[in-house]
């Protein structure tokens, strides 16, 4: 039975690998058929990647960017969840603050970044704050929805059995909010890592976004693609090695349901 399951899980993996190989071959063929400095073949990109890694530049800038992604992600999740849970629990506060949330949802990321740099200076706090601010309204909306959907019967049960605040949070609240947290983190990561590059491009002197800007001015497409690919690969690794296993553990009670 386990063998069959393993075979089944290998099937999709093979499909993914095949799909990536086909993409790479297509890229290689078209780059060889229409040679251009603006469209280098995949091997050139890999060569740049290896060179930059050996020099230490790529790991350095990648590390800086990942640090910014992590910091703004954490900030956005904590602040957004707190506000979202608050608004979900107090309808009156929600009615008052809802226009603010809608407004901030619709402020373009670029505007937030530019204003943050003008108001707080070209520094790390402004950069990370601007990225987090772009994500917070999304987290608020998702977590507010989750809080509204809380099952009051569990709240009553916890009250009757005198659960402390901590165990109420851990055993009653968070498990119910878990799917919403997962949804918010997922869309959060993918939004944040795109905005971080813009922030770096506009006002930082390191990070993947800064490097891409640099190579844009040199019209060095191979280097741009090298940095992009490295970054995307790291984000995919995080998705497969961190996000998905975590989700699997926290929903295991669902899987076996009768």
């Amino acid at each position: 039975m386990e063998k069959a399951a393993r075979r089944r899980s290998f099937g999709p993996l093979l499909t993914v690998i095949a799909s990536v190989v086909v993409l790479a071959v297509a890229w290689h063929l078209s780059a060889t058929l229409w040679p251009s400095r603006a469209f280098p073949p995949p091997l050139d990109v890999l060569r740049v990647m290896a060179r930059e890694t050996a020099k230490g530049d790529l790991p350095y800038h990648l590390g800086i960017t990942l640090g910014r992604v992590a910091a703004s992600f954490l900030l956005a999740m904590v602040i957004g969840s707190a506000i979202g849970i608050f608004l979900g629990s107090y309808p009156r506060a929600d009615r008052f603050l809802d226009p603010w949330v809608i407004l901030s949802l619709n402020v373009p990321a670029l505007v937030v970044i530019v204003l943050a740099y003008i108001w707080f200076g070209l520094n790390e706090v402004a950069a990370i704050g601007a990225v987090a601010f772009n994500k917070i309204p999304n987290v608020i909306v998702t977590m507010r929805e989750g809080t509204r959907a809380l099952d009051l019967r569990y709240t009553d049960m916890a009250k009757v059995y005198r659960f402390g605040p901590l165990s109420r949070l851990r055993h009653v609240l968070l498990p119910q909010l878990q799917p919403y947290l997962a949804a918010a983190s997922r869309s959060g990561i993918s939004l944040i890592w795109k905005i971080v590059l813009v922030v770096e491009l506009l006002g930082r002197s390191n990070g993947v976004g800064f490097q891409i800007n640099l190579y844009f001015q040199l019209f060095d497409v191979a280097s741009i693609l090298a940095y992009t690919l490295a970054f995307v690969c790291v984000m995919l690794l995080i998705e497969f090695l961190l996000v998905q296993p975590l989700e699997h553990t926290s929903t295991r009670w669902r899987r076996r349901a009768a």
């Binding site: 019967r153 569990y154 009553d156 049960m157 009250k159 009757v160 059995y161 005198r162 659960f163 165990s167 055993h171 009653v172 498990p175 878990q178 009670w253 669902r254 076996r256 349901a257 009768a258």
Partner: protein
Amino acid sequence: MNTPQLAGADARLEIEVRHKSFESSKGGSIEVLRDLSFAAEPNEFVCLVGPSGCGKTTTLRLLLGLDRSFEGRIALPGEREPRIGMVFQEPILLPWRTVEENVRLVLPKSLQGKNLDRLFDALGLSGMRAFYPGELSLGLARRAALARALVIEPDLLVLDEPFVSLDEATAQQLRYLLLEIWSAHPTTVLMVTHNLLEAIMLADRIVVLSPRPAHVIGSFLVRVPRQARNAQICSDILRSFRERFPAQS
């Protein structure tokens, strides 16, 4: 606003609600309870019966402290912090915790680390401790809810139709189980039920409520010892109950 008062060890459960109403969302208000008062002696098993929608569950919510907006007074049995074991109409087990975790979570600090083998054994749950509630039948989930209510060694056990929507054989089995455990560890029990035969089989006293706004019409003592309450005697008791309370179906 009201807080259930505490009446000290070995005290009675006393409920005196002068008035309780609900505001409807359209602005009107519905009076649910008016001058409802009854008491339960220490270690007495009291069943609360009455027409459906008359406010039995509301009464339970008041004494559990889940609803504090009423006029009146409630005194709970037990020490400073009386422990109330509650079995709701549905089991309300946390689906993301195993049966054992669900039971252990409610343990007060003084009982943490308690050996639960005998409790799980008595309720026939020994093999289910690592199961999630979603993997249990309704009967087993009810047992787990009962285990959770009993594990805290409650000063007051509150049961809200705990055996409803089970097949009769399972329900009867659970009633015997409850009696067995209660006889070994007597405590004050307040149970809401629609099933008069169930009330007659379990209770020391049956408190009968009127339709809304609910008050107590009367109370019916079941004097026959529980061991002697076989099917024949129960239906005799039911007949005399109906003679006194003809409105009760």
